[in-house]
């Protein structure tokens, strides 16, 4: 079978499809001769061929497997930049984690601890303390969104919410920009583990987060039906889709087409093995911890190894309005274990230089400890931690005042952070998208690179 002509055009099919409209009835017959079929109107010959190819049992998966095995797995790793966002949903108390204020009335009970880098962090992060030479803390984040929904949106997109436009999130932007050279990737390029993330906005559903549980379970992946039925069904489906799509009903119907193709590919891809976290040796699983977050970190490593450009791992429960300190002791132990295992694995496998790590939530928490021994929402002065890629390592950037209520150095925003991550991954800051409204939108909302993050 001639495989290359069939699989080469995968990515461009849906664009071409609408331009070429074969009028003639060309006949093509399948190898076993059981079915001969006219190319449906509005479907290109190439597109049609692909389905015919798929129609002979497991041809496509077998080919893809063969190709992806040959395909320079090592090459993929070395060439490809990726990012992992550790999303601390609820707004973590960074004054108790990365920027402690011992002795101040706002300081809380935790002690600072020296680390392998030129920084001190919370005593409840002992394993991270030994890896801080790989990480950098930005202690001068100053933002203005202290509502969960708004903060979540702002920190994920670099834009404040606006009812007239949906902006793409980190995962959508970065996976879109890092798409080149990953034509063989059949796993969706933006995987969100254990949470929902924020959507692709005007980039379109093809760049939406593919959400899976921390155990890597994907619902409904198997059709449970034999032979060539999937391909035959897809043929019938694409015919109905084409009919509807040609009737000028707007972009929603075109988006759906791309999703159908991706779904079909995903179902038949051997790359999906990457999601099987449980196949890791037990001792590796133990190192990451039995928590959902730990498993999520392990899954992130496996996905990055498989060539996925963006993985977000959700870790919730930081919205500690009351009883914060005992709650934090438990959470920090989980965080410390999962995050340290991830960073040391990436380092050992030579992936850290190409993988940017971003640890953040939607905001920090009030320096003032409230009447319920908790801390409330606080966006004016807080910290994020970053590492990997081309980022400086082992230092703290910026500072807050003595009780943590104000940024004393140059304040940084979500846009600045996003711009810096783009730079660390080699993405041009001149990149400009066009929104639905036709408005040009600069990547990272024209944020300024945080210069200290680069040597």
């Amino acid at each position: 079978m001639n495989s290359s002509s069939i699989t080469d055009g995968l990515n461009t099919e849906y664009c071409v499809r609408r331009m070429e409209q074969p009028k003639t009835e060309s006949q093509t017959s399948r190898k076993d001769g059981t079915m001969s079929q006219r190319i449906p109107d509005g479907m290109t010959r190439r597109h049609f061929m692909r389905h015919m190819a798929g129609a002979s049992a497991w041809t496509i998966p077998a080919l893809t497997l063969g190709r992806s095995l040959q395909l320079h797995a090592a090459d993929l790793r070395q060439r490809h930049k990726s990012a992992i966002l550790l999303w601390m949903s609820g707004g973590p108390s960074t004054i108790d984690i990365w920027d402690l204020k011992p002795g101040a009335t706002t300081g809380g009970p935790f002690r600072p601890m020296s680390t392998s880098g030129d920084v001190q962090i919370c005593e409840h992060m002992p394993q991270m303390a030994e890896l801080m030479h790989h990480m950098t803390i930005v202690r001068s984040m100053s933002t203005s969104e202290a509502d969960h929904g708004r903060g979540r949106y702002y920190m994920h997109t670099g834009y404040k919410p606006n009812p007239n436009i949906e902006h793409p999130s980190y995962g959508s932007v970065l996976s879109h920009e890092l798409r080149e050279g990953r034509e063989e990737l059949e796993i969706p390029p933006f995987v969100s583990v254990g949470g929902g993330s924020v959507g692709p906005g005007f980039l379109g559903m093809a760049w939406s987060p593919f959400t899976v549980t921390s155990g890597g379970r994907i619902r409904n992946l198997e059709m449970g039906i034999k032979d060539n039925r999937l391909a035959d069904r897809m043929n019938m489906l694409y015919l109905i889709e084409n009919n509807f799509d040609r009737q000028k009903r707007g972009s929603a119907s075109q988006e759906h087409f791309k999703i159908l193709e991706k779904t079909e590919r995903l179902m038949t891809s051997p790359q999906m093995e990457a999601f099987k976290v449980r196949q890791e040796p037990q001792q590796v699983q133990d190192r990451y911890g039995a928590s959902g977050f730990g498993r999520g970190c392990l899954l992130a490593r496996r996905l990055v190894e498989a060539g996925v450009p963006f993985v977000e791992v959700d870790f919730g429960g930081w919205d500690n309005h009351s009883g914060i300190f005992p709650a934090l002791e438990t959470k920090l132990a989980t965080l410390d274990q999962g995050m340290s295992a991830l960073i040391s694995d990436l380092e050992q496998r030579g992936l850290l230089g190409d993988t940017a790590i971003i640890w953040m939530g939607e905001f920090g928490r009030t320096p003032r400890i409230n009447g319920n021994a908790g801390r409330d929402h606080w966006a004016r002065s807080w910290s994020v931690a970053v590492g990997g890629g081309d980022l400086q390592r082992g230092i703290a950037i910026g500072e807050t005042n003595q009780d943590g209520t104000r940024v004393e150095s140059e304040p940084y925003t979500s846009q600045d952070l996003m711009a810096s991550i783009c730079k660390a991954l080699g993405i041009s800051l001149e990149t400009t998208f066009t929104s639905n409204e036709g408005r040009p939108m600069k990547i990272a909302n024209s944020g300024k690179v945080i210069t200290e993050l680069f040597g």
Partner: protein
């Protein structure tokens, strides 16, 4: 932003006569012919909607798309009124009804016929449950919210056509137990019962947003950046909820709530003076300010914290129900339900600087709703029979720019495509496969549906109960429709099931395929589709059942099935 709506308003108000004259001049358009033939069914509200909507088309020099086909219209009105597509039987009956009033007859039937009460109530219960407590509200272990309790209240309310003002009053002022069967059960308490943490911040925000179309949550911490709403607005509203408390009874030895009760108790005020029960809030500069219960329009109620003097939530409920904001918010949401977009975007953010696309129509419908005793079914009928609701979703060269997704104000010159809600899809799949004939108990059905829905919902785990859904056309959704249990059941070949019945019936193959198309898409297959279906029959080597299964699978996965179009 609807930048041009001022102009529209000006135009409509001051130049009605001129507009009518223009009508006569526009002889070149087919549009005038359309005006002549459009049916208002003798209902003045329908005529007024049509008039005002057309005025805007004229203003923007766009013409409407042609009408939707009868099949499409029948499908959409079923989806929007009772939450599922029509059965083949219902569709046939409608298509074959000869009378000119058949649309009005169908709307009346779906709204008022006894045989549809249960489905009508289920559909609107679903919508309002999602609105009031979200898709995940009450689903977590140990939650204080009883989802089934709220749904029982909503179902009863919709089944007995409770006027909207009464409904709103009850939800805001409710007290009693949350769980069906418990002493003093009042399912309405489940709206507020989970929103009282952090000094009832969420109760304040949700009550304002849902019933008044006002998003005050940002003013919890600061003055509104774009208008003159002050921080005080949030806290004065908040003061109405400060007598409200929740009493929980736990299962012995666990943290599982057995039953919870929402009650009012005397509020001493944060200053400790119950006759002047005040609350404090902090300005951004750290200063403390004081607030008492004051409604958004400035109306004050007594400051006493004693429930016997002033029942603050009852006072609030009275004020909400008596305010024009309530009717406007209700109309805006209802319009969006049928037409895909409201007059403002977002639909529940009607702050003064967010100017509506059709201010006069919004105002008109709000007044009509109030003067028709807040009967929601009247409003539904007016909208469902209106011209904009009857148009095709196919765009024309003249109205292709009418695309609210691009940030423009909606002109409603064609029907806006939209995904079915997850619940509509669920019910439609059950209808399309006639599984409704053998359904289990109502409670069991709702539980099954909810389990299915949870695969699309992820909760953020924050104090505001935010959630996101992946039921949005993503790969996840495609996988569910390709391979999920529901689809497996819908395409199953079990003895006595939908496909089995058709396949083993004595229709010709062509008619079997026609039947599937009507059941799923409310139309017959095209020539091409017939041809392809025949090819499929050949490929299945004459196994008609298997071929029908493949065709049915393709139909259920198509855009045409999952979109309301």
């Amino acid at each position: 932003m609807w930048l041009n709506s001022n102009t529209v308003q000006f135009f409509v108000r001051r130049h009605t006569v001129f507009a009518v004259a223009l009508f006569g001049l526009c002889l070149l358009t087919r549009w005038v012919a359309a005006v002549d033939t459009v049916n208002d069914f003798g209902i003045p509200q329908v005529a007024e909607i049509n008039r005002q909507i057309r005025g805007v088309w004229q203003e923007y020099e766009m013409s409407a798309s042609p009408p939707a086909t009868e099949g499409e219209w029948c499908r959409r009105v079923h989806l929007d009124l009772i939450g599922r597509i029509p059965t083949v039987h219902e569709l046939d009956a409608y298509l074959n009804a000869p009378v000119k009033t058949k649309r009005a007859d169908l709307v009346k039937k779906l709204l008022y016929d006894d045989s549809y009460v249960a489905e009508y109530a289920r559909h609107w219960t679903t919508n309002w449950t999602n609105l009031l407590i979200g898709r995940s509200g009450g689903t977590a272990n140990g939650s204080v919210i009883d989802r089934a309790g709220l749904q029982k209240y909503l179902r009863d309310s919709f089944a007995q056509d409770k006027p909207y003002d009464r409904f709103v009053y009850e939800l805001i002022s409710a007290d009693g137990s949350n769980t069906p069967g418990a002493a003093g059960f009042n399912g309405a308490v489940n709206f507020l019962i989970g929103k009282l943490d952090e000094n009832a911040a969420q109760a304040t925000a949700d009550t304002s947003r849902i019933f008044l179309g006002m998003q005050v949550q940002c003013t919890q911490c600061h003055n509104h950046p774009f208008n003159n709403w002050k921080q005080a607005k949030f806290w004065e509203m908040n003061a109405f909820f400060r007598q409200t408390v929740v009493a929980r009874q736990f299962e012995t030895g666990t943290r599982m709530v057995r039953v919870a009760e929402l009650t009012n108790q005397d509020f001493a005020g944060e200053g400790g003076q119950p006759l002047e029960a005040e609350i404090y809030y902090e300005l951004r500069n750290g200063l403390l300010k004081v607030a008492y219960p004051v409604f958004v329009d400035g109306t004050e109620v007594g400051r006493s914290g004693f429930v016997s003097d002033v029942n603050r939530r009852e006072e609030l409920a009275d004020l909400v129900v008596g305010s024009p904001y309530m009717s406007e918010a209700a109309v805006n949401r209802m319009w969006a339900h049928f037409l895909g977009y409201g007059f403002t975007k977002p639909v529940d953010d009607m702050r003064p600087d967010n100017i509506p696309s059709h201010p006069e129509l919004l105002d008109y419908l709000a007044r009509e709703l109030a003067s028709h005793r807040f009967e929601l079914k009247q409003l539904m009928q007016w909208i469902a029979l209106s011209e904009p609701y009857s148009l095709s979703s196919r765009m024309t060269r003249s109205n292709v720019s009418d695309d609210p997704q691009m940030g423009n104000a909606p002109r409603f010159s064609h029907f806006y495509l939209r995904q079915m809600q997850a619940e509509q899809l669920y019910e439609s799949l059950i209808t399309a496969t006639q599984a409704h004939k053998t359904r289990s108990s109502y409670e069991q059905q709702e539980t099954d549906k909810n389990v299915w829905l949870q695969q699309f919902v992820s909760a953020f785990g924050t104090d505001e109960g935010g959630e996101s859904t992946t039921f949005n056309g993503s790969i996840q959704q495609a996988l569910m429709l390709f391979n999920g249990d529901l689809i497996k059941r819908a395409t199953s070949l079990d003895q006595g099931g939908f496909l089995h019945t058709i396949a083993s019936g004595n229709l010709s193959n062509v008619r079997k395929i026609n039947y599937l198309y009507m059941a799923g898409l409310a139309r017959r297959p095209t020539q091409q589709e017939k041809f392809a279906a025949n090819q499929l029959l050949l490929a299945r080597q004459g196994d008609v059942t298997a071929a029908l299964q493949d065709i049915w699978w393709a139909i259920l996965n198509s855009n045409e099935f999952i979109l309301n179009h």
